[in-house]
Symmetry: C5
Subunit: 375 residues, 5 copies
Amino acid sequence: MDQTGAPMATKSRANARTRRIKRPDYAKKIGQPPGVLVHLGEIKTEHPAITLFEFDDSGLHEQRFASVLESRDYTPQHRVLWLNVYGLQEPEVMSEIGRRFGLHPLTLEDILNTHQRPKLDDYGNYLYAVARAWRANPETGEVISDQVSIVLGESFVLTFQEQPGGLFDPIRERLRKNVGAARERGPDYLAYSLLDAVVDRYFNCLDSLAGSVERVEDAMNQPRMSRLIGDINRLKHDTRELRRTVWPLREVVAGLQRADERFVRRSTDIYLRDVHDHIVQVVESLDSLRDATGDLLDLHLSLESQRLNVEVRALTVVSMLFMPATLISGIFGMNFHSIPWLERADGFWLAIGMMLFIASVMGLIFWRRQWLQST
Amino acid sequence: MDQTGAPMATKSRANARTRRIKRPDYAKKIGQPPGVLVHLGEIKTEHPAITLFEFDDSGLHEQRFASVLESRDYTPQHRVLWLNVYGLQEPEVMSEIGRRFGLHPLTLEDILNTHQRPKLDDYGNYLYAVARAWRANPETGEVISDQVSIVLGESFVLTFQEQPGGLFDPIRERLRKNVGAARERGPDYLAYSLLDAVVDRYFNCLDSLAGSVERVEDAMNQPRMSRLIGDINRLKHDTRELRRTVWPLREVVAGLQRADERFVRRSTDIYLRDVHDHIVQVVESLDSLRDATGDLLDLHLSLESQRLNVEVRALTVVSMLFMPATLISGIFGMNFHSIPWLERADGFWLAIGMMLFIASVMGLIFWRRQWLQST
Amino acid sequence: MDQTGAPMATKSRANARTRRIKRPDYAKKIGQPPGVLVHLGEIKTEHPAITLFEFDDSGLHEQRFASVLESRDYTPQHRVLWLNVYGLQEPEVMSEIGRRFGLHPLTLEDILNTHQRPKLDDYGNYLYAVARAWRANPETGEVISDQVSIVLGESFVLTFQEQPGGLFDPIRERLRKNVGAARERGPDYLAYSLLDAVVDRYFNCLDSLAGSVERVEDAMNQPRMSRLIGDINRLKHDTRELRRTVWPLREVVAGLQRADERFVRRSTDIYLRDVHDHIVQVVESLDSLRDATGDLLDLHLSLESQRLNVEVRALTVVSMLFMPATLISGIFGMNFHSIPWLERADGFWLAIGMMLFIASVMGLIFWRRQWLQST
Amino acid sequence: MDQTGAPMATKSRANARTRRIKRPDYAKKIGQPPGVLVHLGEIKTEHPAITLFEFDDSGLHEQRFASVLESRDYTPQHRVLWLNVYGLQEPEVMSEIGRRFGLHPLTLEDILNTHQRPKLDDYGNYLYAVARAWRANPETGEVISDQVSIVLGESFVLTFQEQPGGLFDPIRERLRKNVGAARERGPDYLAYSLLDAVVDRYFNCLDSLAGSVERVEDAMNQPRMSRLIGDINRLKHDTRELRRTVWPLREVVAGLQRADERFVRRSTDIYLRDVHDHIVQVVESLDSLRDATGDLLDLHLSLESQRLNVEVRALTVVSMLFMPATLISGIFGMNFHSIPWLERADGFWLAIGMMLFIASVMGLIFWRRQWLQST
Amino acid sequence: MDQTGAPMATKSRANARTRRIKRPDYAKKIGQPPGVLVHLGEIKTEHPAITLFEFDDSGLHEQRFASVLESRDYTPQHRVLWLNVYGLQEPEVMSEIGRRFGLHPLTLEDILNTHQRPKLDDYGNYLYAVARAWRANPETGEVISDQVSIVLGESFVLTFQEQPGGLFDPIRERLRKNVGAARERGPDYLAYSLLDAVVDRYFNCLDSLAGSVERVEDAMNQPRMSRLIGDINRLKHDTRELRRTVWPLREVVAGLQRADERFVRRSTDIYLRDVHDHIVQVVESLDSLRDATGDLLDLHLSLESQRLNVEVRALTVVSMLFMPATLISGIFGMNFHSIPWLERADGFWLAIGMMLFIASVMGLIFWRRQWLQST
């Protein structure tokens, strides 16, 4: 994950400016009537790409369209059709697909607004599911989430992603090789596989987060890492935000389990239950990480504060060693006519000896009370 | 949002006196029987203004009444009637409208009491909904809320606002231009549009709040901003109060979805579900902001406390550099008859050198322990 | 509320002894079989007072009984009868009323035990509701609660209060003047009016609490108010306790809405819904106050701690200004035979100048670092 | 409660060793098949004692058995039979009773395992209820809980206690005197009375806890009570643990209300509702105490920390008063040939006056800033 | 538990490296289609071991298979079959068993993935339950959890454990000895016994955790144990994680109670209810431990901080004792021509006496204010 070996704190500071709370550009949308298509969110890929998979027991047909016009004349030949779109910034692509598959304007609006919360909407002739896929930045350990929209009809599945990321590549591969008779199952099993792929990625990112927690734990033993607070707060924030994108996914899966037999056959339920278990497992791992991070923060703050206090005590103790010596020097510096020892030849050394003796006794006492340890 | 460029802290202090917890003037109302109309709340507009929109497929009629008397003789000619009232301080306006549309005294009382919590009441012959619209003060970033009352009958919609704010202007414009066949739909779709307009404003204010959080985040890196605590507490308070005005709105929308077919046709449900999703999104954003603000406060307090402690340690360390030198000067100031070096010509410089040497050695040790860094 | 102008802290201290956690005298009751009448709680009024209101469309009869014996021979002449009792310490009054109206021993026991939680019990031939009325002490801002018991039968309403407080005076006045045809409605509307009067008082006390919060907020800006912690804790405690007496009242009202048609006619439901909304509003205001108080406490503690730390730093800084001067005086006090400047006529002034110069440079540095500001 | 007058802290320390978290001896039980009777818990009474009450309208028979053998030949003559057992360590007693009344092995196991959570189990031919009775140690204010098992059959009630404590004595007395026709009611009313007696004791212990909170509150005003933290923590712990033993009792009572008519006649429901209300009241009082204790702890910690900081500031301030004087003495101790005032007869007194003057001015400044107050 | 006597802190440090947050190797699994068998988790035993128990009223047959091949030809002769497998790393063993008993691929996948959350899945022809068994490391007090899978069919029970640990040995022994007619009951009673054995172990580990809490409590009274924070945090973490493995087990048992009569006969319900009660008891004990640990942490931090502050105050106080003496020595070291006492023979001793007198008075004041106590 972190192969460059550069210290973590440096990196996270370098990213400080880009790690701000992202402000979605809601303003674009305000005042528009519902159903007007405006893309809300960053543009993450340059040209939208459309790929088509068509399959049933008899075979598989795979095609890539350069533009939405090209796809207009295409006639499907197999039982199950899967259309995937990367890049959402061209409203005309969306409206063409919407017209073709009979999507409601609100569905298209939701697909384009990439700040959706995971949910499942039943539009009568199709189901519309939104999920969020995670990506861990291997450089910084930062985890960000993209929106994945899945439209499940009786004979088709449409998927919309913000950018290509290889998320669904294993599924494509399995379809090509017909692993586990993948082609024989219907669109509901395909939709399940897509959700499963999204959830699988979560485990990957959990790994990355756990790695960050470990790095912070290691750094804690080093003397003085005031920047750790920022790193821990970042982890807390990431864990919390990720939890928010996973938690409602449970309801999406539960909704699919309750969905009409037309869209989800009961034989697929057993697989959906499996995804549901995985989601709960992810949420519990996130809770574990969150608790661990909270404990780390408390531990760090109290260790740091204690360390500082112990140092201040050590300094105070050392300064006390000088006090009796200074007083003695002052006493023998007084201008009285008769002061003992002043006339003696070894008087000076007796005074110095007295200073050293008192300082040693005090040092010994402090040493035994363990007050001189500064760290 | 904040174009004047004046520093934030100054502004927020200037507003300190006006930012108090607002005490509603409940006393006016106590002891009155239910249904007596007394306006509770600030008077935010001078003269109540009444505007009328009437429309169906055949056309649109728009009129503005100077007084409630003027409107008395008006006979509606279209299927859907929308009456909007700004300013609630004149009870006679309210009672005239109440009489005309058959409103229950408790409804009128609720409209006038501008401290209502969002809710939906079914009065049999009409539905009464209360929502709170937000306004962000562009000068201070402060967000305040006004009450919006919506009465939905079988053929009319009445809206009551505390003051004009352009909240419903886009809807008026769409009706005038008949965008998306807006005129062909019934009062339920109009009520949905009004709620949608209210919720759209929320995103605007979220933007403003997120901006304030960013400004606080930036200010955190500057050396010593003890006033930040006040700013952060204000943000926490605002976020919490806003959440309280949005959360019950979910139930209002859910209530409309469950409402009688007479008032809300089932074809409008799909739009209400959309508003519902937006409300949940607003609540989650507020939760995110609240958590971020809480983290900022903790971070600020611990940074500030650590900074102060580190400074105190640095001062202690510096004061220790003087101790051996002072002791040496005391030793050579003693009045013993025979003290080494005292007779030597370079004795003074030897003593000074000894002082400098010890101070340097100590300084070096402290430097390497990083105890001299004060910030 | 606080017209005397005396400082708040003084007052709250004067009340410290009386503000203890009140220990109900449970011991009196232990070991008694259920239904034995023992008055639990302080005796707040000397002589129980019994007042009777009887009314229907035809008129109103009002009577005051000196003792329970006097009332024994009374025969009601109107449809609705309302008996109000102040002072609960005489069990014989209670048992006579219980016998007359057929009250269950457990009801009488609950009326006498003034530490009840708000609740609604259905005893078959009547409903028994307990609520808590608040009173704000205008001297101290303290809010305390009294128990109000309401028994609602098919043709009568009985109310029991710990002491007279004018709580139901507006209702009596409305009955006397027959405002809003008050006499034409049944006992259920009367019971609603009584509950509404109780809830109206809550707003009054919320006002008083909000005033206390404001006073604390103002006091926060004054230099050193260590007693504020106690005041804030008192507010926290009051808000919490009041919330406990309001929260279950929601269930009482909901219970009345679900109650048998014999006791509560459906036409009264709309009014009960209104009371329910008010209760929710009170709870939300209390939550707001509680959060505000919590924030105030955190703010106060961190400000106080920071102020103290800044002062300690300022003192440390000032003490450092003396160090170089003291060292210089020590150096020129050494007894070496040859020390530069010692022979010069202006040597002394050179040394003093050196001391002032170094102190000034240090002072300037500290000044620019803002380390000398002590508050 | 605390009549000896010895200071509280001393007592609570004396009990420190016994107040440990109690570790139930689960190990005894592990690996045993279900239904094997092993007594789990401390042995709190030496010899099990068995007492029998038999009664109906016609009369009452009371008997005490020395051993279980003696009871074997006993034939009941009345309608309701109540058998009470103190001391659970002899499994043969239990198995004999189990055989006689047809108890399931799991019931016997639960009776013997004195770490049960309150619950109600329906075994078809009887109901088995577990509750926890509290006892306040009058010496230390400590509250501990014993297990009370109640078996309710159609014509019998069996009760099992860990030790005699007079818990059920008032009920016995009422049966003997037939107060309130106690003998005429069935076993369900007896079971209610037993539960009511358990709950009545709770109020007694609440009293004792509230007394401890008051003592801590008083001690807070005394200068330096670092041991208070331990006392407050003990109170927090006790309140929490007691709440755990009361909360599930609500379900026990609710279960009895839902129970079969064979065991609980509907006429007893009204009494069970009363017990239910009392339990809710106990839980709320515990919540109040818990909140009060939490506030006390926060208050204590912040007061203690502030006090210490104020003292350190006062010491720093006093040490600053010596600095200018020491510098002046150093200046006039320098060995320059010409130093002003040195030759003057009153030079010494001028210097001393200067020292006093500067110290006085500084002292005045510090005094007015209120920096010299140490507590 | 801790028989070696070595101090606890040392041990826990020795284990620091191994106590990291465990990162499950999710990566192995990503991209695989569902149902592909990959073992996820550590390999805890070298060779899988398969043991068979077959029994009914007529007798018991027990056999141990060296490999899965050996078991292929085995024909069962009794009514109930129990197959137990230790070690999960060989997928071929699993697939052979799966084929033989008709297990779904997802079941096998769940058995092999040892990071499952406890759950109960109904696969139509069998029930699949996952639980987590705890093991306390007697050396370190550390508690870890292993996955136990139980497959309950109509006539068989399959159990899968990660490693042999004697968990089910008491059940084997009871079957061999036919204690309590264990052989006469069906597979549901066997499944209950297995779950009961798992839950029994929990009590064992609770014991170990409570012991650790006690050791920490003891260590708290020793002067300076900064490492306690780490130990307490470990306890908090362990308690939290264990709670996560027990909580969902309630649903497993509830699921068994609701399960089809084919798998669980109603006569077993009473035993399952008993297990359910035990689980709730474990959860409550964990909650108690968690609260106790949290209190310990707060107590430790505040004691440690207070101790440090008291020490700093003591040091400050001692340093103040030297100040007047140093000033006096400076005063009599000034070079004025006429200074009182300088000429007197006992002047020196008068000055020394003055120093001692002032220091004694100050020391007495500080002593009475209890400022000199350093711990």
